[in-house]
Amino acid sequence: MASYILKRVVGSILILLLIMVVTFFLMNAVPGSPFLTEKSTPEQIALANAKYGLDKPKYVQLWNYIKNYCKGDLGVSLKMQEGTPVKDIIFHQGKFELSIKLGIYALLLAIIVGIPLGCLAAYFRGSWLDGLLRVVTTIGVAIPGFVLAALLLIVFSVKLNIFPTRSENLPNFKSYVLPVISLASYYTCYIAKLMRTSMLDAINQDYIRTARAKGVKTGSIILKHALRNSLIPVVTYLGPVTAGIITGSFVIESTFSIPGLGKYFVQSVTSRDYPVIMATTVVLSALVIVMMLVVDIVYKIVDPRITLTAKED
């Protein structure tokens, strides 16, 4: 187990390096410069470029990024908050925290609501409840988060005035409700659908009949035998979900005016703030990689048949 995790960590560092290289060339391939404005003269731009080392050859710039990242230095912002260390922007201005909080709540909602809904639909297969859930989950999967966000805003904030339209720094419970629902709805419905299918598959297995023959109560059969065995596809899906919820929150963040990392990330791209683009990409990638590792380890706990290390033949 330890050696497996070590291997994965080494692999992750290589992946992050690759991500840095790709991001670097992609952002440099986009025309424009952080210092290009309507008023700026070529001399000013050249001066600014020289100040931040943007006049150096590309490979030197890339090398500097890698060198500094190894030291834990993420550089300084070129434009959006000129001169402020990127590390402070991401971690010390509450942006990261805000996005993560929003993401985790949405993730929890998706899991806590999606899994039981899927179980219910499978258990009452063919009933009106199953039919209703199928319609609801299909709609949930079909509607994009930002459409739902707009809908929720119109109904609950504008018309009924229950929840605030701007969530800002998420000061209270009320301000969380709409963003979390908009962010989680797609994933909740998808998990419910996934759970229904895999639960149905499990219910029809012989070991469920074995449990029944043993005399296990129906409730325990579902929770102890069927649920545990049908969680694997859901766990698999949780890796990409986590990534999607955390990185994909920028649209929701914009809709509800939440100054999170997602929103900042998009702004950094449009304003060509290279160090910020690089840092947010790397931080989010690292997060996704960590989540993938967690999912793989959870796998092992959920299903003893899965071996993490390559087969010892």
Partner: protein, 347 residues
Amino acid sequence: MSEERKKLVEVTGLKKYFPVKGNLFEKKYVQAVESVSLSIYKGETLGLVGESGCGKTTLGRTIIRLYEPTDGRIVYDGTPIYDKKEKISVRMLPYRRKMQIIFQDPSGSLDPRMTVGEIIGESLDIHKLTSSKAERTDRIRQLLEEVGLNTEHANRFPHEFSGGQQQRVGIARALAVEPEFIVCDEPISALDVSIQSQVVNMLEDLQASKGLTYLFIAHDVSVVRHISDRIGVMYLGCLVELAESYELCSHPIHPYTQTLLSAVPLPDPEKNKTRTRLLLEGDIPSPINPPTGCRFHTRCPYAMPRCKEEMPELKEYAPGHFGACHLLEQNGSHNTSTSHNNKEDKE
């Protein structure tokens, strides 16, 4: 033969229909088991044969009420546990201790998430058979030894075993509650031929030492002939013939049984080549729309107009030899059987 022997399981008019998707106006059902009546005597092995899809497995599962019967009556050891007409449907938990099942697919019938010890222990826990943790561990070990497994295997997961070993775990699990009656649902058909005899012998030994009663379901007539005291033959949900093993194999009276037996390969290749085989024409009809009257009439070489209209009842034609065929009713039992054989010879 059986007056002095005690009936352990008695099934009367048992039906099991599964709903399938019909259209708006009528519900359709798979008539998996149609009015089966049979008795299983204490200590015997009743074999059940028939081609796949004929309802043997459904019958076995319905008898121990893993499936809720559609109609009929099940009596266990003198107590009715299910009766549609009298609306009896007892709580099954106490009977789960007495009736157990061994499934066909050894790996599928063991929860992949539980260790072998947990799988066996769960049965012990439900029926509160052990009072302390130490006793529980001892009992699990003892059961594993009984089925020829290593006691250290208790901490392993099912996937770490071979098919034969998994089936042994399945048997140990069934034995954990000290049952009287075990439905062996094709327990060896998923196993390697070399392992099959080991498992069959073990089942026989266990029966001798524990006085178990088996309902042994299989599609392989030679295995059933070996292990069973009596054999029942099923076709499309109906029991068509029931007799003692030797009697059934030597004097089959139902046309379907005759064809079935003629398909059993003989060990002597010369004889196997030269003998005449009875072959049925056509496919087995769908159990959703079974033929009217005798369900076998569409493929029966001796079908008469009456067979299309009336379903024959299972009647005793020789002591302990039951058959369900109109032809038998006309001719009397063994005459028919020999006349069939004569025809077979002429062909």
